[in-house]
């Protein structure tokens, strides 16, 4: 069922790189909440169904305390994606599964998380990493691009998306393109 047999030497290297990255994304998850300006809705007060749980928090800033009258709330501006508790638990489980080579199971677990937070780029990056781990670089690439699109306004999530794209390009021997992708990541968020 799982094509773990097909992992080439280079993609095992990618996997170990990812396991390190997994720790990093764990750090993203546990980052303290930004302080919200007075009057902004608290996370718990967001009406359910309006926003997926824990998807984004607008970064603090006077410009976002209240949208100007008769304007849509700004779609852009700095954002920082984080995972809600349910998705965090599932990502932890998926890391354990991927760590023991069960990429298919890890992907299924991450799909559960994605059904809870479909717009969270961090989850698409996680799933892309698993696809890369099982040797499916094309899907990893597509999920990286999906993540970059969803992560508009969050440079660090966008950078993580570009790094996934770079790794998936390298896994297919497309080194010059990979270098470009890596560079985009670097510009967005230096290592």
């Amino acid at each position: 069922m799982i094509s773990s047999m097909r992992i080439s030497r280079s993609s095992s290297a990618v996997v170990s790189a990812w396991l390190i990255a997994a720790c990093l994304s764990g750090c993203v998850v546990s980052r303290p909440e930004p302080t919200l300006p007075p009057g902004a809705p608290l996370p718990g007060e967001t009406p359910p169904g309006e926003t997926p749980p824990g998807s984004t928090q607008p970064a603090p800033g006077p410009g976002e305390a209240q949208p100007p009258p008769s304007e849509r709330p700004p779609a852009q501006g700095p954002r920082q994606f984080r995972l809600g508790p349910a998705a965090t638990a599932l990502v932890t489980q998926a890391h354990a599964q991927a760590g023991s080579g069960e990429f298919g199971q890890a992907a299924v677990t991450l799909e559960r998380a994605l059904r809870i937070e479909p717009d969270n780029p961090l989850l698409w990056i996680e799933l892309g990493r698993v696809r890369l781990g099982e040797g499916n670089a094309a899907q990893a690439d597509a999920m990286g691009r999906k993540a970059v699109a969803l992560a508009t306004g969050d440079p660090s999530a966008q950078a993580a998306g570009w790094r996934l794209i770079a790794d998936s390009l390298r896994a297919r021997g497309r080194d010059p393109e990979a270098a470009d992708a890596e560079q985009r990541a670097g510009t967005l968020s230096p290592h």
Binding site: G49, L90, V108, K146
Partner: protein, 743 residues
């Protein structure tokens, strides 16, 4: 004669020894994921539990029960096998407030971040002869059931040798007097033989054969074996083409829960049904079956199986059957499941091998969708008064995952017939327009504010004929901005744009988004002379709803074998098929369709403040009424029309839109609020003319999104602080506003 007996003996032992019921694949809905923050009210949670056959108690004494204590609901979850995990019976405490679930804890009081309820069994894939069953082991059978069967059907079961001569003679006497077969007098073993080996035709020779075979069975097998075989074999109901065999399936079919959880009154009802599943059908003949159930209870008390007071208490209970039979609820959805699996499995694998199939069906969304379609079609029929009833079909997906969560194939939802969602190939009409404008946006030569000509068109075709399309209103609108041409679904303007970007480009866009066949590249393609099924239309719009990423729509998530081995997974796959910038610009225009265009009628039905995007579709002569649209978390495509292809007399906005709006309103859905990609800018233009305006400059303006470097002519007399670039305009405004805060 001796040889004949020997032959029957061999036949019976051989067949019965190697007996293996063919096990139709069981199909499950998506499990409901519970987690703190999920928007699910206490009543909805209770509804979900009841749908799974959980019973409200005060004791919480066994799996399959729950109790409500104020805001807390304690659930004794049954053991369950998911595609990727097996879970033992477990306790769960959920605190549910008016805004949704607040916390989940396990039996030890530990916080649980996320937990799935068991998936609902929604049906099975049974063979042509229609025999469907769920096989149960003796451990899964409540002790009352064999006792009741013996008391009612065959009191000497434990001691006779397969036949009961006294009962047979009594029956024979009755039958001779009546000169026809009226009374059975059959033992359980004989009934088993009849069901297992013989036709149901009643003749005297057949009776003799049956008796010999029953004696043979009795000689070779234990009573416990025979009882278990009986419980799994016997016919207990009919549901269309589907024959309900065995108490395991009957329990699900009538009560929606496992056999092990049936109480006395429920066991008694199933035993009552044995005697005549059609005559004592508890759904169709409630009184009759109730009388027989009470008779069964009385006999059970007389025979000392239960206490008299328990029997009379059970007799006071309602029948307790679910309003609709469990399984085969959703023929159109199961149809899609079957077709998906046919690529990988032979029919026999599906109908015999006991596979478990896990799907994405969302029972709540499915029921909402069925009701919305039924109700709105009935309303339209009353308005239009045609002899032929209107038909409809619809598909609901969650766009980012590509999960198909509901399919309705026609207004008679229980009917396993023509599945319009998958098989009705209808002209897509104006549903094609978004793909024309997307192609135009991708060319870099158009944006939402680009002024295009809505002017008469006269094309000489290859066959010498002239093609002269018209607008729906038969009027000509002159110069209009693209956002308006799409919102008001102007045919002439759209054809102009489509011819300018080129038919091959538009055809390519459609195919990138998942159109299975290359469309015929004729100008009429630009007005939707492209046949699609509702499912295919959903596939096309799914790519618009997920930012230009294509995911193959899927109903099946995983298949596992009878012994729990994973056989096949259908993983989430995405591919980018359009630039996110172009799709975002288009989607913002589709929001304007809902705000001020042909979709605005949905406003009255949708929750206030819900941002949605969509497009109506009307094919030529009003034969097809379509609506396709999406929120942040759901996509729905609705088709309404006549099977005969007669004109309906109404547009997509009048026919399909109300159905669509009611579906969206019934789902717990979120606003479409994709982030604006970098390099784009939001600005205001005058809706009729497309001229750039500042707020206050026009009483008919619309916000559009264009490439940041687009230059849009300003309305004369409308002053802009920087006289130029819209991005800086917005930045300047924001800066002014920020300064204003400081004062």
């Amino acid at each position: 004669m001796a040889l004949y007996v020997l032959y029957l003996d061999l036949l019976v032992t051989h067949q019965f020894e190697g007996r293996r019921w063919t096990l139709p694949a069981q199909v499950y809905a998506a499990p409901l994921e519970l987690y703190a923050g999920l928007a699910l009210s206490p009543a909805e949670l209770e509804g979900e539990l009841q749908r799974l056959g959980y019973r409200r108690t005060t004791a919480l004494d066994r799996p399959g029960t729950y109790r409500v204590q104020g805001e807390r609901i304690d659930v004794a979850l049954r053991p369950v096998r998911f595609a990727d995990e097996t879970r033992t019976a477990t306790l769960l405490s959920v605190v549910a407030g008016p805004k949704g679930l607040e916390s989940l804890r396990d039996g030890a009081g530990q916080e649980v971040p996320v937990l799935r309820l068991e998936p609902l069994l929604i049906g099975s894939i049974f063979p042509i002869h229609g025999e469907d069953r769920i096989v149960v082991t003796p451990q899964e059978v409540p002790a009352l059931l064999p006792a009741a069967l013996k008391a009612v059907e065959d009191r000497k079961f434990d001691s006779h040798h397969g036949v009961d001569p006294v009962a047979m003679l009594r029956a024979l006497w009755v039958n001779v007097r009546a000169r026809q077969i009226e009374q059975g007098g059959s033992t359980l073993t004989q009934q088993l033989v009849r069901s297992y080996f013989l036709s149901t035709r009643q003749t005297f020779t057949r009776k003799i054969r049956e008796a010999i075979m029953a004696m043979a069975l009795d000689a070779h097998f234990t009573k416990a074996d025979l009882m278990n075989a009986y419980i799994n074999e016997i016919f207990l109901g009919q549901d269309g083409d589907r024959a309900i065999h065995g108490f395991g399936l009957a329990s699900q079919f009538y009560f929606g829960k496992p056999l092990a959880e049936l109480d006395l009154s429920e066991v008694a009802l199933l035993v009552a049904v044995v005697r005549g599943p059609s005559y004592y059908d508890p759904r169709r003949h409630a009184e009759r079956s109730r009388a027989r159930r009470d008779l069964v209870l009385k006999v059970m008390a007389e025979q000392g199986i239960v206490k008299a007071e328990d029997a009379s208490a059970a007799a006071r209970r309602p029948l307790g059957v679910t309003s609709r039979p469990a399984g085969a609820y959703y023929p159109a959805y199961l149809d899609f499941v079957r077709r998906t699996l046919r690529r990988d499995y032979h029919d026999q694998d599906l109908t015999e091998a006991g596979l478990k199939i896990y799907t994405s069906l969302d029972p709540r969304a499915q029921e909402q969708a069925e009701h919305a379609l039924e109700r709105e079609l009935a309303r339209l029929d009353r308005q239009h008064k045609r002899p032929e009833p209107l038909e409809g079909a619809l598909v609901v997906t969650t766009p980012q995952s590509g999960d198909v969560i509901a399919i309705v194939g026609g207004r008679n939802v229980g009917y396993d017939g023509f599945d319009r969602a998958l098989d009705a190939h209808r002209s897509m009409g104006s549903l094609v327009k978004p793909f024309i404008y997307l192609t135009a946006l991708e060319s870099g030569r158009y944006n939402a504010a680009t002024v295009v000509q809505d002017a008469p068109i006269d094309l000489k075709l290859a066959n010498g004929r002239h093609w002269q399309p018209e607008n729906f209103t038969h009027e000509v609108y002159g110069p209009v901005p693209v956002v308006r041409a799409l919102a008001e679904s102007l045919n002439l303007a759209t054809v102009g744009v489509g011819l300018d970007v080129g038919l091959p480009k538009v055809a390519d866009t459609l195919q990138r988004f998942g159109l299975p066949q290359p469309p015929l590249q004729v100008p009429a393609m630009l007005l939707g002379a492209v046949e699609v099924t509702p499912l295919e239309a959903a596939q096309l719009f799914n790519g618009l709803a997920s930012g230009g990423f294509h995911n193959p729509l899927r109903a099946v998530r995983a298949v596992i074998s009878a012994d729990g081995k994973p056989l096949k997974a259908f993983p989430l796959e995405v591919s980018q098929v359009a630039s996110p910038e172009a799709v975002y610009q288009l989607d913002r225009m589709l929001v304007e369709v809902m705000e001020r265009g042909t979709g605005r009628g949905a406003r009255a039905v949708l929750p206030a403040g819900l941002t949605v995007a969509g497009k109506s579709g009307t094919s030529s002569d009003f034969r097809d009424s379509w609506f396709a649209g999406f929120s942040g978390s759901h996509l729905a495509v609705v088709w309404v029309g006549y099977d005969s292809d007669e004109p309906t007399g109404f547009t997509g906005s009048a026919g399909a839109l109300p159905v669509w709006a009611h579906i969206m309103a019934g789902l717990n859905t979120s606003s479409w609020e994709a982030p604006m990609p970098e390099g784009l800018a939001e600005m205001h233009i005058e809706f009729p003319t497309g001229l750039r305006v500042a707020p206050g400059c026009s009483d008919d303006m619309v916000a559009v999104v264009v490439p940041g470097d687009a230059s849009i002519p300003a309305k004369p007399g409308c002053s802009f602080p920087d006289n130029g670039n819209p991005v800086t305009t917005i930045l300047n405004r924001a800066e002014q506003w920020l300064r204003g805060l400081g004062h």
